[in-house]
């Protein structure tokens, strides 16, 4: 969807395919996260194996996309916005892959909790809320990449503060539970690691949004809080 057409339309096609692959990978990550949170809420432990298996597909796509990036750089010597697109994508993909890993981690944590005969919902309802916010961040960061929408990307970066605050409140809630009743410590620690993984997914979404801004505006705003104001 680059505004200008290249003389070589095959090059255009390659770039489009690359973008589609990235978004496909993003779609997988979204689905994984949704499935993991559903398993957390419904106690559908049978689904966990499916989630763990699906992570392989994400890893395969990461390799494919890396290959394609290397190919484009070597064969086409992209310049200006095309170069930014390829560079941005190659930085974005590890973030997506790690977000997928976090989803897998959540699924495994859910299995551990239910296998020990606990019901997580009675301890931390906040986790679902946290997951909802992180999911919106992932979705919007991918949308901003698909539409090359810098404003949406900035709103994703700002939303990360909410997720961090939400995570802290879940943590406080769990600590209260642990102090009230030491028997809940095992399950509370498992839930805490799930919440931590969700919070990390939010961070990855924020990184993706930063790469989108790099692609769109050509500015590197990592580690620069003022830039998005």
């Amino acid at each position: 969807m680059n505004e200008t057409q290249h003389i070589s339309s095959i090059f255009d096609e390659e770039l489009n395919r690359l973008r589609t692959h990235v978004l496909q990978m993003g779609g997988l990550v979204e689905t994984q996260l949704t499935a993991a949170i559903d398993a957390y809420s419904n106690g559908d432990v049978g689904h966990v194996k499916h989630i763990v298996d699906n992570d392989r597909k994400i890893n395969e796509l990461e390799v494919t996309i890396d290959d394609e990036c290397a190919h484009i750089i070597a064969m086409r010597q992209p310049t200006a916005s095309d170069l930014r697109l390829v560079l941005g994508i190659s930085r974005m993909v590890p973030d997506l892959e790690r977000a997928g890993d976090e989803a897998k981690k959540i699924a495994k944590g859910v299995r551990r909790i239910y296998d020990n005969g606990h019901m997580p919902s009675q301890y931390a309802v906040g986790v679902r809320h946290l997951a909802g916010e992180a999911l919106v961040m992932v979705r919007q960061s991918l949308d901003s990449f698909a539409r090359l929408d810098g404003e949406l990307a900035k709103s994703v970066i700002r939303a990360d503060d909410n997720v961090d605050a939400e995570f802290k409140s879940v943590m406080r809630q769990l600590i209260t539970h642990m102090m009230e009743d030491p028997r809940t410590i095992t399950v509370a620690i498992d839930i805490l690691s799930i919440a931590r993984a969700i919070e990390r997914i939010g961070d990855h979404a924020k990184n993706i949004a930063e790469h989108v801004i790099f692609i769109v505006e050509g500015r590197d705003i990592r580690h620069n809080k003022e830039a998005i104001k």
Partner: protein, 426 residues
């Protein structure tokens, strides 16, 4: 044309005659003057036409001299008809687009590479698209669900794809891709969330009725077989018979509840008799105390004077169910508050408890028949699984609504809210 020709001919003849019989130069002068008058008339009309053709809006004031006038009129009429035709077409197209936008189903038009060409408002809502920014975007870039990607790649579109999306809130969509014109695709999106829920409700209902009736039946037939085939002493026999009695009682109450439900559903609307609420609420409190047998603290909080119009038997069975539920699901030592309030907006009967509470995701399904939050627990407590279904039906026949708020571990509040039209104040 004739008049212009005649004028030309006349000029030539008169100037020839003048030149021949009087003076040659006079003939030439007349000839040139006549021709220049003639030419200037044509030039004036031509410049009018030139000015007219530059105008952006159709100018009706175009008038010409002699034959020019007819040409101008014809031109004007032609232009006007053309403009009207275009306007008509534009109105038709706008109406068509408006109709597509008004459709309940989502419509997305795609090109051969599944890039978005157009989508209606419903599709924007359902799939999270934005026509302005997404035109030309591959649809798979926005609707990233892996199942959808696989559907597009499979190239077999004879069956619709059922997709679960939770972009804003959970929705079940049925997507149907069909080709039209040359290498163009139309994606039809139907929201089947409601049908999907109804389907699962119906399946659950049949499964639940048979399950609920089979459990006591299995126990009964087991004891019958035992008694037929094995000699047992008097004590055991009496114990068995007691258990059998309990199970048949249970079946009876399920059948009774099913009958109540179906009679409420099929009966004509309740007659409006005046129901004495003060005594009804007091009776409910005594019922609660009897059911609780001293295990709970029961509080009555009544405010305002007034009675309800409706069928007393239905109101009693609805409100008594709420009270019984509160007693059933509140651990010993808890508090149950019965609230009766009348305000200008209407009346409210609420039961507030400090019981186990209900997780938010169960609340929308509570009034489904046999829907249970925790199967084992509610059967132990003696519920049939039909109570809240009866409550909902009985209340809706009185234009009342059931409002549930609850927090796990903290307790629940079930409120029956009656409209002001059903309330009679003394």
């Amino acid at each position: 044309m004739q008049r212009a020709l005649l004028y030309g001919l006349l000029t030539v003849i008169v100037s020839f005659l003048l030149g021949w019989y009087v003076e040659t130069w006079m003939g030439w002068v007349l000839f040139y003057t006549g021709l220049s008058i003639h030419l200037s008339m044509h030039y004036r009309n031509f410049s009018r036409l030139e000015r007219w053709s530059r105008e952006r809006v159709l100018d009706a004031s175009l008038e010409g001299d002699g034959e020019w006038d007819q040409v101008f009129r014809r031109l004007y009429r032609h232009e006007k008809e053309l403009l009207e035709k275009i306007e008509q077409r534009e109105r038709d197209i706008a109406r068509l687009i408006a109709a597509v936008h008004a459709m309940n189903d989502g419509i997305v038009l795609l090109d051969g590479a599944f890039r978005i060409q157009f989508c209606n408002k419903t599709a924007e809502r359902q799939l999270g698209l934005a026509t302005a920014s997404d035109r030309g975007q591959a649809i798979g870039n926005i609707v990233r669900a892996p199942a959808f990607m696989a559907y597009l790649e499979k190239a077999d579109y004879t069956r619709p794809l059922t997709l679960r999306l939770d972009r804003y809130f959970e929705r079940v969509l049925s997507l149907y891709l069909m080709s039209y014109a040359e290498d163009c695709w139309l994606l039809q999106v139907k929201d089947i969330t409601q049908t999907d829920r109804l389907d699962s409700m119906r399946r659950d209902f049949v499964a639940n009725v048979s399950h609920e009736l089979r459990t006591p039946l299995t126990v009964l037939s087991g004891f019958v077989e035992t008694l037929q085939e094995i000699e047992v002493d008097e004590d055991t026999r009496r114990h068995y018979l007691q258990l059998m009695g309990e199970q048949s009682q249970r079946m009876q109450s399920i059948v009774q509840d099913l009958l109540t439900l179906s009679s409420i559903e099929s009966a004509p609307p309740p007659e409006d008799q005046l129901v004495d609420m003060a005594s009804l609420v007091d009776k409910l409190r005594r019922d609660a105390e009897a059911l609780s047998a001293g295990r709970h603290h029961i509080v009555l909080d009544s405010e305002g004077q007034g009675d309800l119009l409706g069928a007393e038997s239905e109101l009693v069975s609805a409100l008594a169910n709420l009270v019984a539920n509160a007693v059933r699901y509140t651990p010993a030592g808890g508090t149950i508050t019965l609230i009766w309030r009348i305000s200008p907006e209407g009346a409210e009967f609420a039961v507030q408890d400090t019981g186990i509470g209900i997780d938010a995701k169960h609340i929308p399904r509570l009034t489904e028949r046999f829907y249970r939050v925790d199967r084992g627990r509610s059967r132990d407590a003696g519920g049939t699984g039909l109570g809240l279904a009866i409550v909902k039906h009985a209340l809706s026949r009185h234009q009342a609504t059931l409002e549930v708020s609850s927090e796990p571990g903290k307790g629940s509040r079930f409120a029956a809210c009656f409209p002001a039209s059903r309330v009679r104040c003394e």
